[in-house]
Each structure stands twice: as C-alpha cells, then as structure tokens.
Subunit: 406 residues, 4 copies
C-alpha cells in the first residue's frame, strides 16, 4: 500500500505526530512521489482527485504560509512556491489547486482586515481547510445586491478552479448599484452555491475549473473584503503578482517534469538513427543539441522565477510600507519569469518527442500531457500582452498598471 | 441521413453510376465533408473507422492512380496527393491509410514485374481492394525461409498501418539464409496472419498502426517482389520518396485544417484582451501577426510540396529511364517539402491556441488533435536527419543515399 | 583586362554587335562576373559605381522589359527579376539601381498615357537611359505650384536611389493647392536639380540613396503622370507590388550570394572543432544542420518569389482589364515572398559565420556585407506590417489596401 | 577637454590621489563615459586605442583583482566582471583587452607557484602593467627547445589579443621534445618578439588580435608556469571557465549597450508606421513586442551570468581544495551563461534595427558595430558545441571535460 494511503489510515493525531518529524519539503516530496504513481491514469480520468486532496489536507501543507503564531508552518513564498513547483513536476492539476490555496489565503490577507484574515488563517491551520476560487474578474454574470437587508451574490461563474471539494471559497460579484467588484470569503457549503462538475478540458484535467451557480447566496458583512479591498494599496496589488508567480512556478515544474521523463525515456529506450555518426544515443549530436537547448532555456527560466520569488518575499515582508515602485520592480521580475517559463516550457513539452522518438507517443505513457497541461494553463492570459508590458518597461520605463492580470 | 450513408445504401451499380458523374476531386470533397462530421468523436474513440473505410471503397478512389486501361481513375500523383491532403485537413488518420493505399500500389509497380502489378492493379480497381502495410525495414523480427519447398514468412511486426480491414498486404521479411530484405504482396486473409488491435497512441488514432503476427505464412513465388526488387533501380528508388511526399501532404493538410478551425474560432468566439489598442479581434495586432506568420510558413510549405509533386509526376512518367541524378533532384525537393511542412505545421498546431484563447481548450472541440496527430506522424523518421540530408546537398552537392527513409 | 573593360573600349556599334549574339541572361551573367571582382572594394569605398553603371548601359539591359516594338529586349517580369536577383548575388547595390530602372519604367507605363510612356520607352532603348528615383511618398518637403504660368517642383527630398548619374528622374511633389501627390518624369539635367552625394550607410553603399534639392524646377505639362495617375486603377496599383517584388528578388539574391560564399569558405578553409564526431568538416553534423536549415528556408522563399513573379506577369499582361481581386491575390503572393525572403535571408546572412568559423571575419573578405546590405534594405518598410497584412488576409480574407508600400 | 584627457595631464601621484577617493566602480564609470565618446570613430579607425589603454593604466584598474596585500584593489570576480561588462556596453574591444588582463593574471595564479605569481602581481600593481595574450592552444606553430643550455620559444602565433602595447605576455609553445604545452610569462619587450599590426577584422577592431613572431626568444626557468602547470588540478582548470565567463560578460555588455542605443533612437527619432493603431511609437504594439522579447532574453542571460560569477568567486576562494565536481558545476553555469548571452545578444544586435527603422542605418551612427563586435567575438569557439556540453550534462549528467575551451 502506498505511503499516502497508509497515512490516510492512521488516526489523525498519530499521523500528525509522524508528519511532525518531517520538514514541509520532505512532506511535499512524499506526496509528490505518491501523486506521480497515478498521474497518468488521473489525467485520463479527469474529475476531482479526492484522495490526493485529502492527502494534502492531512499533510498539513495547506497552512504552509500561515504564520506559526496562527498555527501554520510559517514558510515564506520561496519555499511555498518550491513546493508548488515540485507538485507540478508530476501533476500540474494538483499543483494548481495547491497553488490556489495560497493565492486565496493571500487574497484575504491582502484585501481584508486583520480581524478577518487572522481567524481564517487560524481555522485553516486547525481544520486543514482547502480554499477554492470563484473570483473571475472577466466574468460579469454574478451580481450583488441587498435583499431584505442582507447582501446576496447571485449569478453564474466560470473557471472556478479548486472550488469542488473545497471548504472555503473566494467569490466575486459586481455590486448591482455601483458596478464595483466585491470579493468575499465564504464557506463552500453556504446555501445557494452549486458547483458543476463540467470541467472537461484538453489539459489541467483535475483542477475542477468548472462553472458555479450562485442562487441568492447570502454574504455576511464581515465576509466582504472591503478594507483595504481589491487592488487598492501597493501591497494589496501584490495579489495578481502572486497569482502570476504561482503560474510561473507551475509552468516551470511542468517543463522540469517533461524533461525528466524525456531523459528517462531517451536513456532507456531511444535508439540512434541510421546516418548518425554516433553509435550510442547518449553521444548522438542532434539529441545532445536538443537537450542542451532545453537545459539553457529552463535554467534561465528557473533563475528568473527564483529571482522573482526573492523579490516577492521582500515585498511581502514590507507589507503596507511597500511602495508602488517596489511593486513595479517585482511586477517586471514576475512578468519576465512568466514569459520565460512559458516559452521554455512550451518548447520542451512540444519538442521532447524529438529526443524520445516515435515509440514514446504510445497512449500508455500519455507524454503529451505535459504539453496539454502547459498549453492550457499558459493561455490563462495572453503571453503577447506580457511581452508588451516588458516592452513598455524596456522602452518607456513604465511599470505595468496593476490589474487582476498584471 | 448523410450523403455517404445514402451512397452506402444504394446497390453498387446504381451508386457507381451516380459517382461516375462526379470527378475524383468531387468525390473526395463529399467524403471529406462526411469525415469531418465525426472526426472529433472518432479521435476520441480510436479503433478502425470501418464506415469511413467502406465509404472510400465505394467511392472508387482506391484506384485513383491506377491507369484507366486497367480500370482505374488514371490520375497522376499531383491530384492523388491533393486528395490525400484534403482528407488530412479533416481527418489525418484516414488520410494516412488512404495515402498508404497508393504507396502500396506504387510498391508493387516499382519493385515487381508487369506480370505482377498489372493483375493486382486490375483486381484492385474491380474489387476496390484496400491495401495495408506490413513492411517495416527497422523491425527485424520477421524472417523468411523455405519450409517443405514453400516459402514462409514468420515472426512479429510493428507499425502495420492500415493492415486491419485491408484486402491485401505488403509484407516484408528477412531471408533467413541471406539476410536480404524480401517483400511480398499477399492477401490479408492468408492463413497465419494475425493483426492485433493494439494501436493506442496519442495521435493518428484511427490508423490501426498496431502489430501483427506471421505464423508460418505461406508466400507464393509470384507474390515476391524480386524483379527489380526493393530500392534496386533509380525508378524503384522512388518508393521512399513517394512515402515521404505522402507524409508531407498529410502534414500540410493537418496544418491547413488547424488553421481553418482556428480561424473559425477566432472569428466567432475570440475576444480582444484588455490592453489591446484594437476594439475588435479582427483588427488585433498580435492576433494578425500570428496569422501572418502562420500564413507565410504554410504558403512556403505548400509551394514546396506542390513543386515536389510536379517533379514526382515527371519522374514517374520517365519510369525505368529515370536517372540517379533526376531521382536525387526529386529527393531534395521531397525532403525540403517534408521539413517545411513539419516545421510550419508544428508551429501552427502548437500556437493556434494563442489566436483562439483559453476557452478553445475545451475537450468538446479536441482542437489539440491537430497537434497530437502531427506530433506523432512527424516522428516517423527524425527531421534532424532530413535537415542533415539537405545540408549535405547544400554544402557537398551530394544527393541523399536511397534507403527506405530517403 | 576584364571583359567588361574590353567591352567598354570597343566602339559602340561594334560592341553592340558583339552583345547582340548574347541572350539577355548571358549578358547579365557576364556583367555579374565582372561586378563580383570588385564588389568587396566597392562596398568599402561607397559612392557611385560609375564604371559598372556604364557597363550596364552598354549591355543594353536597361531596356530589358521594353517591348521589342519600341526597341527594347521585350522581356517579361520573370526574366527581368531573375537578372535583378543574379546581380544581387554579387552586388546588391547595383541590383537595386538596376531594379529601380525597371520600377521607374513601370511607373511611367502605369501612371501615364501611351503618348507619354511610348516615347520615353523608345528613347530609353535608343540612348540607354538610366532612370533614377526622386519619388518618396513619406517625404513631404517638396511641393509644387504654378509660378508665372509654369508648374514648378520645389523643396528637398531624401532616399533618391539611383538618381546620381541617371539620365531621367521620377520625381514627386505635393500640389501646394490641393495637397495631391504629383509625379513627373523629367531629365536629371533639368535646371534646379541638385543631387547630393551624401549617402553613407552601413549597407547598400553604392545605391546613391542620398538627398536632392529641387530649386524651382520647371515641370512641363506632358511630364506629369496624371492619366490615370498614381494608384488609380487596379493596374496602376501594380506599381508598389513591382517595387516589393524587386526588393524580394534582391533579398533572395543577397541570401543566395551569402550562402554561396559561405559554402566556398567552409569547403576550402573551415576546420572541424574538437569534440565533433566527424573528422571532416563536410560530414560535421552541426555544420550540415545549419546548411540544411539555410537550404530549406531559401528554397521556400525562392518558390514564393517565383510564384509571385508568375502572377505579376499575368497581371501585367491583363493591363487595364486587371481586377481588384486579381491585384489583391498578387499582393498576397508578393507580400509572402517579401516576408519569406526577409526572414530566410536575414537568417543566412546572420548565421553564415557559424558554418565558416572565426577566421572568416577578417575584414579582407568583408563577409559581413551580406548582412549589412540585407539588414539595411529589409528596413525599407517594416516586415511586421507585412505580416499584419498577411494576417488580415488569413483571418479576414481582406486584401491589402493599395498604397505606395502595399 | 575630457576628463580622461585631464587625468592624463596631471602628474601621476596627483592623479593617483584624485583617483584614490573613487571606488573602482566609479573609476570604471568615468572611463566608460570617456570611451563612449570616441567609440564610433575608433571602431572605424581600428588599430590600438593607445590613449584609452593609458587611461586604464592610470586608473589603477589593471590591479582590480590583485589582493590588497600585494598592492592591488582586492576585488573579487563579481565586481571585476561587472566592470568588464560596463566597458563592453560602450566599447567591447577595450572590454576584451581589459578582461584579458585579468585572465592573464589568473593564468599565472592558477598555473604557477606562489613564488612566481606574487612578485608579478606586486609589480603589476606598482607599475600598472598591462598583460597581453600570446597563448593560443590551437596554433601549433611555436615550438620550444633548449639551445645552448637556455630555453627558447620560436615560431609564429595568431590571435594575440592585447599583445600590442602590453608590458607582459603570456606565451605558449610546444616542447619540441615532448610535445607538451609550455606556458610562460615574459616581458613583451623581450628580444626576438615581434608583434604585427595586422588585425583588420569586421568587429572587435581595437583588440590588436593580430599575429606575432617569436625569433629564438629566451625564456627563463622561473618564467615557465610548470607547477602545477596548465589544466592540471581542478583549481588550475578554472582558467578556461574564467575566460568563457569574461566572454559572457562582454557579450552581455554588448547586448545591453545595443539595447540602450536602440532605445534612445526609438524614443528620439522613430516614427509610427502607417497602418499602426498607435499614434505614438511608445505605444506601438509591434515595437513593444520586440522590446519585450529583447528584455526577457537579456534578463535571463544576465541572471545566468551573475549566477556563474557567484559560483566562480566561491570556487576561486576554495583554491586548491576545489573538487572536480564543484568545478564541473561551475562549468555548467558558465556554459549556460555563454550560450544565453550569445543567443540573446545576437538577437538584439541583429533585430535592434526593427525598432529603430531604416534611418538608423546611417554610417554616422555605426549601429551595426554591436552586431559586428558580437558576431566576431561569439565565434571564439562554436556555440553548437557549448550546447552539446549542456546536453551532455542534461542527458548524461556528465560535466564538460576540462580543456582550454571548456
């Protein structure tokens, strides 16, 4: 029986004790090893990776970035993003919902008051709450109004990653009166919320990024994130950068995973083509050229991603004292990481077959999942416009205007 | 009911009469329209496209390149390849088995004697025989020996595209005594042949390119293609070039199909990203840039492919008088077409999503099938070594050495 | 003494007789051979290639596309452009002024009346007139007004390629009253015209593309090209397409010349790098890969360019019956050729040093001139906007709007 | 009068005092500002930049990496390479000879005994000695033998960068008896050494990388670097990595300089092309796209280069305790930096004209010098084989075999 399976069987407190001796990184590595075993079949199946989500819950890693004073593991963004990346190497769907967990926590931290986020952080740590996403600024179909003295969210929403099987939701709606974007943190079980199991995509197949219905869902006043509110202060404007840097780490992880699998395949099964001067695939000039190109692209992307994470930790620690310029500098670093991981990752997942050969296309291996996952995920927002932002910086020394995508 | 369906219901001679009034190109267009309707679901299902194969049989197009004097449609390679390409736009699996039909016919024409290929051509035209492939020069597991005075083929074979549901097979084996490659044309129903339904791949999912077992399969003397035999004369050496040019036409067709679907999606559903100076996707600068790059890559590939087909028709008509130099010139043209269609096609099928946006990744559309199909098929033999051949020509004025891949 | 030198010494009628036995293509080849001998030193020197211009005059090739009925050589656009391309292989400055000769002749043919262009064609054939350019639609500094009953052109002009040492000029000015673009054909010796020898550029150094002053230059009524006038009918709108296709042929020629010189250098002087599996540069895998990439890029560009030239000849022969759609189809073909020759050419001239090695960078060879010439010339109008036009066609089925650049 | 000029006029001790108050970085910035003023004209002139070499001498920067205990400025490799990079932004020839200064000092440190390098370091610091290169492992024409009891170097040598106007030389010869590579440090003025002023190249025009003659040049025993000798210990094997990392920093500096000049040109002089949706070049979508691509390429290359420099400082400080594995890790980092700076730099210097437009090709600006300099210098050893080394690492976990290029 798998280790994750074993963990799930022992009583919670025993298991917690067993886990306590492991560093967060070690716990993540164990989980990743488990996830890898079923990643191929779960890519085919789609749907909700319930067992894996539970294993994450039990690992305690959902409170990775929650301060120790609030019961969490107290990690910074760098180790948190490293773990997102590690999951992405073997299963980018799980990496996405795990990354979103921390994006949702960051959202309440950045948009809400201490009186709001501290209790939520504490309860998350205690209960291993999984947070899901129902915030989609491009989907204007959910509106909010006051009915009988109580605020309601009502309408439809698409791309609700990680909402299924979540405990808490970050949801958005447009104020029917003012048109202003309202964001709330509410229990997923709240009456009126229906999550549809309608996510069926060519990639990221276990992210449950389907649609939701909000039927006159009541939202309490203290669940609304109004102070300072979305994208208000420079510090609050870190939210989209955290999102984009989570994406970058996942793109990078996918690429690293693809390269690792390609390498194993080449070493074990690839054959030298007739006409090569090499007698051995390990010395084949074109094969080595491809691997060299993969390496240098990935290594540059890795350093850019790490550099952005360093700046993020610094900015996060500055909290409300963060300036717009410091936020801008981070934005450029994050954007460069996003573009570089996109380009290097797509190149590797697209061309990895040229270093494995035709037989690696058997459906049994589903090696195309790396490309499908990355292809889908990198479309979140267009890379052309990321390049445009970098160009605006390079030419005009203009930082990106904060928005939900920049 | 679909037209193809209707055609399949009417008695053969009535239908033949109905088809007689259509040009081969018109018949192909009708079939392609039918194939398109179910291409997405059949990509998912995999397996043998029996109904579609029968519709091709009934269309008479299996004898497209068989001379009219032998009962065929008497078309040259240019129109034949155009039809392969047209099928590939909507269904590259069918295009592959249809292309292989003509490669198999070319094989008996090029490697055999007039006394052999003429009757086979005639019977193919009369009976709408579908020919399948069991010739794989890299798979050395089938050997041939003389047992009790009769020649037998015995052993396993992989990548037998189009063998399932075929009427005739081109099969290869190594002479157990001499090590020489023997090629034979035999009925698929011949005792001892087992075709396995074990093709499950990430792309080209309905080509039945699975494995086969030959259990002491008897091969008659007049079924062996010994005169002039494989890759013997310059004319016989056209065989791999025909194969490669069929591939190029399929690659091109896949790319054209991908571009056409991307275009429809962009026009109907894509939205301008915030930050664009355009108010309308049809005027969006980056979208137009991508389409422009797709166009110029594809147009160059198209001209190279057509140019090679012209040279092929000329070479084919020269028959035994073809010189090695003329064969070499054609080889360079075919190789350039192969590389250009590979590069342009992979670029389009990989990047088409950047002009459609994230929503186009829904599994309902399976737009990734273009990339999966092309990705798989372009690995048939490595493009690096095609470039090397072109380099050998450009630098050393050396034509490719004839082989089953060049 | 060089053959061109010899030709220049013999009396005109003798020489003409000698040349008469040569086809235009043979004459061009002889000239190209001569030009090649001094191309390196003339690239360094810059200025006007007077001896070479005279040799072209004496060759009769200035009337290459003038109908035989008017004393010319009666060639179509395809052979004319082939000769432009052949010159470009060895000297792209000369190719440019030679190409402009035919663009200027096309300008009077397309924008003027038969009563205008026939005599000019005839005189060009008789006197071997060289035509230069003083038409620059982006330079608005020359205006035209009627002074004392006579029309004058007055003002400055930049980028007057081939004006120095020309016999006739195509000049443009803006009508001071209406703002309309006026184009005239006038003798270069006309009073008031000063051509400055101020062209000093990193490439295309002998095109004399410097500036000019028009000081109250008188322009006669029958020198103005008003009927049908610039960019009026679909046929008149061929002018920019001819310009762009001349450019494409020059880009292609530069790339072919670069590849030819790279090849000679590799074969004669390049050495295998330590660590290569090859013992001989002719078998070096990476070297062959580069050459293969060069070849396939160039071959696609060549076919696109030839295809556009075929369409141009057809459009030219349709004359006033040419439709906007036929013009549009040609525009797309020309634009694709322009983009493909730009991309393939820049790639080769930029990377050719990777197949020659470090020693090929000696100033004695000036191998950088291919890149410098192409880099400069391909900036004539931005390739990004050519791709945009192709995108507008691919996505919206919209032909380019006729202008002086499209 | 320029500051550098002023500095050269004041007496040495006054000037030294004035300089003493400046940090090394400030001194370098002042020099760079001066170099920039004449870089264009000196690129045209070629030859030895005597005034600039003297200004470097007077700046004290020639002893940048010499320990303070030996009279030097005591800087590590990171600040040293930063200054090499800063010079390269404005003048890559000077950057090369300045970089070679430190490579030569590293050579005596790595290949010689403490008794050798300490005095040389001290004298270099005292006398502002400039060191030049006459070590070329691929040029086998200089041999060494013992004549009349004294060792001599005799023969020719090519590519002797920075030898002209140097005070000391690192010279190599093959032992006539054993074939072993001998390396010595000798005064440039030593009898029998003739340096030819025959460097005339398309780029890096003021590096004096010409040829030399050694006519029975006497070499004393204590001038030979025999202990530990070339490429002996892991630490000694740092030499080629230092060389390659100096190159990377120069490539990066060239690219940064090119981008800076392109930017100034775009902002001041470029115009929006008709057909753009932007009214202002600063908002032009394609222009911004190019700048964005330049930025992300350069930023990745910059981080890779800095990362390698960090590892180099660590390895340098480990000295003889450096392991082969640590050396291997550094080699991979350096190689990745080399490839990334080569690719990003060539892309920028090649395409920068697409964001400036045609007028930026005037010879007055000589903007092509960035491409010419980088094109020449990146050919030092083939980037294909650097990619192969990275591939060997990525696929086989094999570090590069130490050599004079790896």
């Amino acid at each position: 029986m798998s280790e994750a399976g074993l963990l799930r069987q022992v009583p919670n407190h025993e298991q917690a004790k067993a886990l306590d001796v492991l560093t967060p990184k070690e716990r993540a590595s164990r989980l990743a090893t488990e996830f890898a075993k079923t990643a191929v079949e779960r890519d085919q199946a789609g749907g909700t990776p319930k067992a894996e989500r539970n294993a994450i819950r039990e690992s305690g890693l959902l409170s990775l970035m929650i301060p120790q004073s609030l019961g969490g593991l107290g990690q910074g963004w760098q180790p948190t993003l490293e773990i997102v990346r590690e999951f992405a190497r073997v299963d980018s769907s799980i990496a996405q919902v795990f990354g979103f967990q921390h994006l949702m926590l960051a959202t309440v931290r950045l948009f809400g008051t201490e009186a709001q986020w501290k209790p939520w952080f504490r309860q998350t740590a205690v209960n291993n709450w999984f947070w899901g996403n129902a915030l989609n600024p491009l989907d204007l179909r959910t509106s909010s109004s006051i009915e009988d003295g109580a605020r309601e969210f009502h309408g439809k929403k698409s791309f609700c990653s990680g909402a299924t099987d979540s405990d808490m939701l970050i949801a958005s709606a447009l104020d029917a009166e003012t048109g202003k974007l309202l964001i709330a943190a509410i229990p997923t079980a709240r009456k009126g919320i229906t999550l549809h199991h309608d996510w069926d995509n060519i990639g990221q197949r276990q992210t449950d990024s389907g649609s939701a219905d909000f039927e006159h869902v009541r939202v309490e006043a203290d669940e609304l994130l109004l102070d300072p509110g979305p994208l208000s202060t420079p510090f609050a404007c870190l939210r989209p950068l955290i999102a984009q840097l989570i994406f970058s780490n996942i793109y990078l992880g996918i690429a690293q995973g693809a390269l690792a699998e390609a390498r194993q395949y080449t070493l074990r099964q690839s054959r030298v083509w007739s006409g090569s001067l090499a007698s051995d695939i390990q010395a084949e000039p074109y094969t080595l050229l491809h691997y060299g190109e993969f390496w240098v692209g990935l290594e540059g992307a890795r350093l850019l991603t790490n550099h952005a994470a360093e700046l993020l930790d610094a900015a996060w620690n500055k909290a409300e004292s963060l300036t717009l310029e410091e936020r801008g500098e981070l934005a450029i670093a994050v954007t460069a990481a996003k573009v570089a991981t996109t380009k290097a990752g797509l190149d590797i997942t697209h061309r990895m077959f040229e270093v494995t050969g035709a037989r690696a296309t058997t459906a049994a291996l589903r090696l195309d999942r790396f490309w499908r996952n990355l292809r889908v995920y990198t479309l979140h927002d267009p890379v052309d416009f990321k390049l445009k932002e970098l160009g605006d910086w390079a030419l005009n020394q203009q930082y990106p205007t904060p928005s939900f995508y920049s």
